[in-house]
Each structure stands twice: as structure tokens, then as C-alpha cells.
Subunit: 332 residues, 2 copies
Amino acid sequence: MSAARFDILGIGNAIVDVLSKTEDDFLVAEGLHKGSMNLIDAERAEYLYSKMGPAIEASGGSAGNTIFGIASLGGHPAYFGKVADDQLGHIFTHDMRSLGAHFESTPLTGSAPTARSMILISPDGERTMNTYLGACVELGEDDIDETIVADSGITYMEGYLWDKEGAKNAFRKAARVAHEAGRQVSITLSDSFCVDRFRDEFLELIKSGQVDIVFANEPEIKSLYQTADRVTAINEIRKDAKLAAITLGEEGSLAVTKDETHHVKAHTIDELVDTTGAGDLYASGFLFGLANEMDLEKCALLGGYAAAEVIQHIGPRPAINLKQGAEQVGLL
Amino acid sequence: MSAARFDILGIGNAIVDVLSKTEDDFLVAEGLHKGSMNLIDAERAEYLYSKMGPAIEASGGSAGNTIFGIASLGGHPAYFGKVADDQLGHIFTHDMRSLGAHFESTPLTGSAPTARSMILISPDGERTMNTYLGACVELGEDDIDETIVADSGITYMEGYLWDKEGAKNAFRKAARVAHEAGRQVSITLSDSFCVDRFRDEFLELIKSGQVDIVFANEPEIKSLYQTADRVTAINEIRKDAKLAAITLGEEGSLAVTKDETHHVKAHTIDELVDTTGAGDLYASGFLFGLANEMDLEKCALLGGYAAAEVIQHIGPRPAINLKQGAEQVGLL
């Protein structure tokens, strides 16, 4: 296998986040399950926006955040995702390219707008997401540039893609092309409700070896194996995946293989402000570590570091240069 | 004079800010004068955006920030400003209305986009602004709803409006209508370079009594009277304006009338992050105080409090509810 032009290729829903602080009463009044990601249509998006408070806008999208984080760590990532040719699409494109990530997906013209996710941040830092997919729903097999997939060390994809048939096919195609080129394939399970919707398909992807590396948090991995017991879930994923990275919130994270389990403590923080992007940035650090052939413990530490940075401010992407930051704490 | 439906009416350039951290080297390389506000055309905007780093977007505009701050303090403000009927315009409109400010200016359709200001934040917190006015340039006399002007206690306008003939006429019309209704008129000098461009006209506005209340920082008031001496400048404005509020950065601020000078110390802060919005939010606090018939010292203290809040985070508008915050520190 030749050296890869790109460390990591991310494929996901290209979304601009609309972030607003809220009280939990608002979530209750609007029937929102705290901590969840809800797919909403244009009408509901309009309604919720009219009800919510003042916001700031920031490029987001799960895999988009991960890829941005890898660029911030000094990596060389690429990204596939569908924006529209509109103002929010230009913002997303600018931000993705601004640190050097390769992003050349053709924007959608003349129909649905760029996706936005209205993210309501509770006083305790938990976020509740309401996503209108807009242009994202047009992501399909044609957007999978095979040359780039073949030239990326690891192709990393969102479980969220499974919500749309076209994106699902794009996912399968990318996985096939990556493996044919001798590369690796990774998935994040994205959200426990997402796992609920697609459990059998996710299990099939992992068990069949179409996916090598699995990222999940505790609710997601428990949902995948329909168990309330963490250890049971971990022993199941150990059998099914070559490598799994499981985030455990304040308890840190686990890197799990057939024979090994590495537990790494959470990076200390001063104040939890907004959990948006926590899992995404954990994946940035972990994948950057893998791309640079670090040991699994180091990968998990880097993931924990990047996640700790992003939860200490509003917004889904790092506010500092992660390479410099990681160097300062001795992780790079 | 009857009670006013609106405490304060703000008129200004309706702008969405694009905020990005930068190193001072970048300002030098791009020929930007640190701390200034530069008007740029669409081509230059495109160029600078392609060069600058990742950003977040937040509704801004000088008077827009002031009006938002007044709403956050629990006031009842209104705003006139021109956005386009596009995504950034919808964002601006949402944010302005989200705390209850009255904003019904007709958006522009089919030509220039909503204005944006690329704000480069230096490591020391100073901001350098690069503003593409877009739809703002269409603000004109027709946008001045006389009923609302007549029903607002104080009409507050940006010196920035003077850069365009239509907005200048809108300003003059609003001042006339306000005075005919027995209301007061206020201006912020906006920027020392802006004062340089329009010194004679600003002096004429103030000396003729078309403006009652002047907001300025030290460089602006010195520029207005073409003096390097603060005391000289203050004694000049004392002769010309009924009331002037002069911000002095770390030294606090002054409220100056014919016979009185009140010096108020700066509100203490933990860390200066981004000066964007400092003067605008000072005006929020001061004007809110005036509208509620507080004494001048209290007005200046409230202004200093609101300014202190906004410079401790990225973005031009308060991140907290200013009413609750001011109550907690005993100012309300």
C-alpha cells in the first residue's frame, strides 16, 4: 500500500450550526428530548427558529468537525459533503478549506438550501440538535471521488448518513473503494436514536468487515447491542470490530481490540460550556493519532484532549490551534 | 410630550459579522490599520475572506448591537436597517427580534446581499473591521417610518451612515421628525477615520442642535476637534452638545454636560478577549439609563458594565441576559 495523500477522508452531512443558549423549560415546551439529534423538515425548522433566542452561526456537521479538528492538529484531511450554492454553503466551504482541508464537493444549485442544525445549549452544557438536512439529502454515489478515497489512509463516515438512501449508497461505495485500495474504513455510530433506527444495518456493516474502526459513546454502543451493561457491549464490539473507540464522558475513553483494552482518563477541564462537537473532536484526535502510527493509548489521549478543548466554549470546532495546544500539554 | 412606545430607536448599517482570530502579521501583510473600520467592495471582500482563517458568524452592526443590548437590559427598543432577503438577512432579522426589539424594515430583494463585516481579532483583543455594505447602501428616507420615530424617546444613529448619501438623508429626516415630536436625537461618531471623513458635517449636526447627545471614544472626540489634548476636546464638546458620553477604555468613561463632568471607572474584567461591540454596548447601558431617567453617573456605570461583558468573549453582542447580570452586580 502506497503512502496516502490524505490522512483521513471524512464523509458526512455538511451543516452550519445555529447555536443558542436555552433553558430546559424550552425543550420541554417544544417536546424535545434533551441531548438528542432530531431530523426536522423546513416548516418545523422555520417554527423552531422563530421560537428560539439569539444565536451565533458556525460551520459544523459531525464528520466536518472531525476533519476540521484533524487539520487543526496539523494533519492533511479531505472531506465530502453537500452544501448548496448559497451564503451558508459558502461559509461552510470557507471554513473547511481555511486550515487546508481538501473540500471540492460540487455544491447543489437551485433547490434545497445548505443544511442547518439549530442547537439548543442547556445551562449544564448539554446540547439538543434539530437538523434540517436541506442540500445534504442530495449527497449520493456521484459525490464519491474514487481517486481521493483510494488516496486516503482512513475513510471516516457518519452513521447519520444512513438516514438517506443516496448517502447510504455513497457510504457503501466509499467503503468498497477504500478497501480495494488497501485502506481502512471507520464509522461513528453518531447518536443512540440513530443506532435504534439502523441497528441491523450497522451490525451488518461491522460484522461483515465493511467497517474496520468504530467510534461510539456509551449510549450508542449499548443501543447497538441492546444491553444496559457496558461490559457486555464492549465484549460484543471486541468480537465484531478490529478496533473500537468508546467515549465515556467524564470517565474518559476506551480503545478496544480483540485482545486489548486501553482505558484513558478524561482530560481535565475548567468549565463545561457546550458539549457540541465533543465526540467529533475525540475522533479528530484519535484518527490523527492512528494516521501518525501512535499507540492506541496516545490516540485516546489526543482524542480526549481535543474533546476537552471544544466543550469549554460555545461552538462545535476548536477555538485554538490544536497542534500548538497539544504540543503545550506534551501530547505532540 | 407623551410617553414613548419605544425607549430607543436605533438606525444603522444592518451587518452580519464574520469573526476570526488573527495574528498581527496578517494585518500588516494585507495593509490593514489595526483597530480601524475599512469599507471594502465585493471583490476585496471575496479576496480577504479567501485569505482569512475559520470564522463564526454573528449578527452585528454598531447600532444593531446597541439596540440588542437595550433589549437584553429589559428595554423596549426599535431598529431601522437594511438587510437583503437572503440567509444572512434572515439571521440578522431573527436575532434582532429574538429579544423583542421591533424590526420591520423592508428587506432588499434581488440585488446586493446582506452586509457583512470581516472582523479580525488580534491576540490582544483589538479588532480590525472590513465591511462590505451590500444591501445597507439602499437604506434611505423611505425606510424612516415617521410614526415610529415620533414614538421613540431617543433616536440613536451611527456616524457610519454618513458614508452613503441615501443613509445621510435618512439620518437627517429621522432627526427632524424626532425633534418635531419633542424627542431627543443621539449620534455615535463611530470611528476616528469616519470623523476624519465627515468632520465638518458632524460638527454642523451637533452645533446646530440637530443632535442632542453624542457618543464618542477618545480618538473620535480628538479627531472631531483636531486636537491631541483630551481636555481641550472635552471642553469643546461641552460647548457644542447638550450631553456627551466619552469612553476612555481602561480609564472608564465621562458623562459631560455644559456644567457637569462625571467620571466613572471602568468595570473590572477577568480577560480581554475581543473588543468588538465595546462602544456599542456602552451606548446600550447609557441609553437604557437615560430612558429610565437614571442620573448620568448611573448611566455611565451601566454602559461600562455592558461593555465589560461584551469584551470578555468573541462576538459583538452580549452572551448573557444583561438585565439579570446588571441586577446581580447591583446596577439594576
